[in-house]
Symmetry: C5
Subunit: 88 residues, 5 copies
C-alpha cells in the first residue's frame, strides 16, 4: 500500500453505472513513497476527508475494500493514518 494526503475530490456525472455513489478522492503521495509527489484518484471506504493522511490499496486490492466488489476501480482508501502529520 502507499500513503498519501487527500488533497481534494473530483465529480463525474457521466460514469460507469457501478460507480454511482462513489466519491473520487485525489490523493497526493508522500515524498518518501513510491511515486513520490504524484497524485492518483482513489475511491473511499472509510470516510476520509481533505487533509487526512490515508492508506491506499491499489490494483485488485481496491475491489476488496468495502462496497467496491465488482466495481471498475484500481485504488481505494482503506485506512486513515493516526499519526499522519509525523510522516513525510
Amino acid at each position: 500500500m502507499i500513503i498519501g494526503t487527500v488533497v481534494g475530490s473530483v465529480v463525474s456525472t457521466r460514469k460507469a453505472d457501478r460507480l454511482v455513489g462513489s466519491k473520487f478522492m485525489i490523493v497526493e503521495l508522500l515524498d518518501s513513497m513510491q511515486g513520490a509527489g504524484w497524485r492518483l484518484v482513489a475511491v473511499d471506504s472509510v470516510g476520509a476527508g481533505v487533509g487526512e493522511t490515508v492508506l491506499v490499496a491499489t490494483g485488485g486490492a481496491a475491489r476488496l475494500a468495502p462496497g467496491y466488489d465488482g466495481a471498475p476501480v484500481d485504488a481505494a482508501i482503506v485506512g486513515i493514518i493516526d499519526d499522519g502529520a509525523g510522516l513525510s
Copy 2:
C-alpha cells in the same frame, strides 16, 4: 484511477476478435498524475470524446467497465470529469 485528457484515437483492423467494435482512445495523463504527461491507450465505456478530461481505470478494473468482461484490455475510461478544465 488516473485522470487524463483524450487527445485522439487509433484504429486497428487486425486485432483480437474480442476487441472488434472497441474504440481505442489515446489519453494523455495530467501533469499532476502518476505517469505525468505520458500517454496510454484506453477503451471507452462512457462515450468520451477528444478534449474531454476522463477517469481511467487500469489493470483488472478495466475489464469491469461495461462491455469489456473477458476482453484483453488493461485500461478503460470509466468516467468523464465534470470540471476537468480546472485540473492540471
Copy 3:
C-alpha cells in the same frame, strides 16, 4: 494498453511447457507512451512482424489474448495499428 514498435524477437528453448510454440516479440514503446523508449517482451496473438506498430495489453489482460489462457505471460500483442507510422 500501450503502443510500441516490434523491433525483434528472442528464442527460448528451455522454458515453461505452457509457453511452447509462443513467439516472444521485443516491443519498443513509443516516445509518447508510458515507459517511453523502453522495451518489453510480449507474446503475439495477431501475427505481428518486425517494424509494425502494435497495441500491447499487459497484466492479466495478456492472458485473455487468443491462445494464452493459463500461460505465464504478462504482455501480449492484441492489435496492429493501421496508421502506426504517424504516431510517435
Copy 4:
C-alpha cells in the same frame, strides 16, 4: 518480489474491517531494487521487525500471504532475508 528494510510502522484506527489486527510495516526498498530508496507499506506474515531485510510480494501475491486472503492489501512481507546486511 522486491527486497527492502523495515524502517517502521504506522497505526490506523479507522480502517477497513478486514484489516483489523494487521500490522502495517514501512519498508524502504534497497538501492539496487526496482523503486530504489522509495518506501511502501506492507502487511507482515512472518513476524518481521524494524531493521530486518525482508522479501515483499506485491499485487495479488500479497493476498496469498498467510492470513490475508480477501483482505484489501497489495503488498506483504513473505520472508526475512538471512544475509540481508550483505545486500544493497
Copy 5:
C-alpha cells in the same frame, strides 16, 4: 515479460510456508528493458543459473509458472534466452 541476467540469489529461512523449497533469484534487468538496470527477486521454474539471461513473468503470470500455483510470488523466471549474450 522482461529480460534480465541472473546475478545471484538470496536465502530466507523464515518465510511463508508456501515458499518452502523455492529458490529466490536476483535478476538484473537489461539496460534496454523497462526498469533498466534495476533488480528484482524472481522464483525459478526452469533451472536457471547465475549469469544466464532469462525471461521473467510478473504479476499473476508468475503464479502460472510450474510449481507456483497459490504461492505468494509476483515474479518468476519462465524461460532462458538462447542468445542472451547478444542482447543489452
